[in-house]
């Protein structure tokens, strides 16, 4: 058959390898290539021109909108990464100290939200943060405020909060894995040598878990910067992000080549962030 050890099935194995190499080529490589090629086409007056130029890329750098929005989006996603890591670290630490059934249960509880509908989570968070939402209602009821707050909805704060809440699980996992990898003997040695728990944490555990923290942060950053649904849904008119600009090129603006070029730039930013993360991880 198709398995090693069978000499008669040459034909089958040839068919299999054609399939295994051909399908990924057609449905993954070819789309990605056409995508990159598209970024060199250009559109003028609703008409697409199929000659290769750098026009889209020069427009990105010369137009006054795009670079600032990209920069702002990067800062936003960096803040999301920082918040997600700060919130995720204690959970990862608790996970690492637990054992047996309880550890497994807690890990499951961290993972389950990942399988839940993204769009539903955004919707749910929006209905809490909104002017008429649960949070405002609660604060009014507790008489902490007397006017519904509007700082949490339809602006960048809302995008920041929503993305953080959505992406915490992605921060917990890498940190948890790096904590698990710390050799027990190092911690025991530190305690034997008279260090308190707190000292052991600051001098041994925290530095050794930093690679995981960096991986977690770059993970969250990349996921946040690629998201266009969240800003579209909770961002309102002022919460404009780079992902939304890309999406609008394929919708209302109908300039596919420019959208493709912007996505290529976004991909480059992501690759740089991942590479920086990897580099840091190797060095430590």
């Amino acid at each position: 058959m198709l398995l090693v050890g069978d000499q008669q099935a040459r034909g089958w194995r040839f068919a299999l390898s054609t399939l295994a190499n051909g399908l990924p080529f057609v449905f993954i490589i070819a789309p990605l290539l056409s995508f990159v090629v598209y970024s060199f086409f250009w559109v003028e007056g609703g008409q697409m021109h199929f000659d290769l130029t750098l026009r889209n890329y020069t427009r990105f750098f010369t137009d006054a909108i795009f670079v600032p929005v990209l920069w702002q989006t990067c800062l936003l996603c960096l803040m999301v990464a920082v918040f997600a890591v700060l919130l995720g670290y204690p959970v990862a630490f608790l996970l690492a100290t637990l054992s047996g059934r309880r550890k497994y249960m807690l890990l499951m509880l961290v993972l389950v939200p990942l399988l839940m509908s993204y769009i539903i989570k955004i919707y749910a968070i929006r209905s809490i943060l909104g002017g008429n939402g649960f949070l405002n209602r609660f604060l009014l009821w507790a008489q902490l405020i007397d006017q519904p707050l509007t700082i949490f909805v339809f602006n960048l704060n809302a995008v920041l909060l929503t993305l953080t809440m959505l992406l915490i699980p992605f921060a917990i996992l890498p940190i948890f894995l790096s904590l698990e990898r710390i050799p027990k003997s190092l911690i025991e040695a530190s305690i034997d040598l008279g260090a308190s728990n707190w000292q052991t944490f600051c001098r041994v555990i925290l530095p050794l878990s930093l690679p995981g923290v960096v991986t977690a942060a770059s993970f969250v950053f990349v996921l946040a910067i690629g998201d266009f649904l969240t800003p579209q849904m909770v961002g309102g008119p002022s919460g404009f992000t780079f992902g939304r600009i890309i999406y609008s090129q394929f919708g209302s603006a109908f300039n596919w080549p420019f959208g493709a070029a912007l996505s290529v730039i976004l991909a480059l930013v992501m690759i740089v962030v991942i590479a920086l993360g990897n580099r840091f991880e190797r060095r430590t």
Binding site: L3, T97, I120
Partner: protein
């Protein structure tokens, strides 16, 4: 890990509790409000009712969207599992740089941000004159979830000792018999686990779908359209139902994947 002091343990637990409130709390609000009357955009907490669910039954758009989601989910899952088996067997058949490259390419759509793979497919379909329909959505989902099915299956296939297969040949079994009586049964839990996971992912996939779909809506796209229009009570009911379904699928996936994980740990 070190033994925590009582104080440290409590502090960590409290922080963890906050994170879990952030993770699960928002989901409770639409579920709770789905059981109450909504008037003027406000939930009337003193008027419990099932009218939201009743409205859902009469919303034909939602039922079609639900059926579309099921069709896409089943097709994408079936394709990914079958292709996952084929690709895993091919990968196991030998070692060459081509195989490593193939493996990397399969993982790409899972690693790349969905907006990019969605846009790439959108442009590809336009260039090849494939009009956008449920078929393109199925292709998009398959490309996305295949990595998961492939990964689960290839790991299990690698752990299957070659001597089992050789023994089967020695005992006179044909290739197909070996495949059906030796290889496939040992992949069983990996197949069912990855099938459930693939279906769950496909069921909720939004970012790729929104780009490659034509006029046919899947449930998340339908939800997206409804949410943009505003707040209607049947959204809450739908959200509650979808969450119930997803939770059921998660529990199923865990039950299938659980024994394999403890077996891996024991080995």
């Amino acid at each position: 890990m070190m033994k925590l002091s009582r104080f440290a343990y409590l502090a960590l637990s409290a922080l963890t509790a906050i994170v879990f409130i952030l993770l699960y709390g928002p989901l409770l609000v639409p579920i709770a409000s789905s059981f109450f009357e909504v008037a003027h955009g406000n939930v009337q907490w003193d008027m419990p009712s099932l009218s939201a669910y009743a409205a859902l039954v009469h919303n034909e758009g939602i039922i079609t969207a639900f059926l579309n989601t099921l069709i896409v989910g089943f097709c994408a899952t079936f394709l990914s599992v079958v292709l996952g088996i084929l690709f895993a067997i091919h990968y196991r058949n030998g070692t060459s740089p081509g195989r490593e490259l193939m493996q990397f390419v399969i993982f790409l759509p899972f690693l790349m941000p969905p907006i990019m793979i969605g846009l790439a497919l959108l442009i590809f379909f336009r260039e090849t004159d494939i009009s956008r329909s449920l078929l393109t959505v199925i292709i998009g989902h398959t490309v996305f979830v295949l990595a998961l099915a492939y990964r689960t299956i290839v790991v299990r296939l690698k752990s299957l000792s070659a001597s089992f297969i050789e023994a089967s040949y020695d005992l006179g079994a044909s290739s197909w018999q070996t495949f059906f009586y030796v290889v496939l049964p040992s992949l069983k839990s990996a197949l069912s686990g990855s099938a459930v996971l693939c279906f769950a992912l496909s069921f909720d996939e939004t970012m790729i779908t929104i780009l490659v779909t034509g006029t046919d809506n899947t449930l998340p796209i339908r939800l997206w359209a409804m949410m943009r229009l505003g707040f209607t009570p049947d959204i809450n009911a739908l959200v509650a139902l979808i969450l119930a379904l997803t939770t059921a699928m998660c529990i199923l996936a865990v039950r299938y994947l659980l024994p394999t994980e403890s077996a891996d740990n024991a080995a």
